[in-house]
Symmetry: C2
Subunit: 157 residues, 2 copies
Amino acid sequence: MEEKAFQDYYPDDVSHCYGCGRLNEHGYQIKTRWDGDETITIFEPKSYHTAIPGYVYGGLIASLIDCHSTGTAAAAAYQADERGMESLPPYRFVTASLHVDYLKPTPLGVPLEVRGTIKEIKGRKVVVTSTLSANGVICARGEVVAVQMPDNLLSSS
Amino acid sequence: MEEKAFQDYYPDDVSHCYGCGRLNEHGYQIKTRWDGDETITIFEPKSYHTAIPGYVYGGLIASLIDCHSTGTAAAAAYQADERGMESLPPYRFVTASLHVDYLKPTPLGVPLEVRGTIKEIKGRKVVVTSTLSANGVICARGEVVAVQMPDNLLSSS
């Protein structure tokens, strides 16, 4: 049986994200897992996730890097605290800043691989760098500053 | 009659972008126009474009800033060359880098306003800064480095 993804541990009330929520039927429902010290997400865009014909839409690339990185931040926080991802209270991170460098056009029609590295953990902040590859070629690089979600954010919904 | 949007001038073969292509029936089909020296896009997310309940998904915010900025870059290039947007050859820009600072949670259920400012035009490069507001409050800031699309990019599709 395949190992559960980080997103499979998210509590129900934070599992509606368009990018990574398993309960959002319209969304991407990305799945991120450890691969050694790195994290990995594989995602195959639909044909309409296009920018110019034949290439992947940059907004999707930014979205994948974003949710991959907040998931990685949560996993890193559990790991740093030597806690299992099923333990309570849950860690959930939101994005403070997102940076993407588009290095070359990303071909459409093949699975994309996002790989994340934890650059820094400090207090409630985790910095994650990542690459997005197609056919083994790095097409984009990302850096996300993720911060632990304020406790009061859900109460206002 | 409302003034045509920048995206309405894009040639058909570059009008399939998920963010801004008028021919992508699945996409956002954003519309950007001049407002004085600034550019403006108004977009109302769907209920499923959520991050945590009640707030807009950050990947959508990045996507809006991205396509708003490439459209603004094209309009700025026409303006700099004192050309109409219907004149040939067409200018079309792609994103070299995208940076978004998420300043506060963006409420879902109201129209979002993206405002762009042309920071720099140099050769084939245009830098656009932008704000994204909801209910008159700035929730995110963006900076996009856009570059004129290489002529050979379409031929490989």
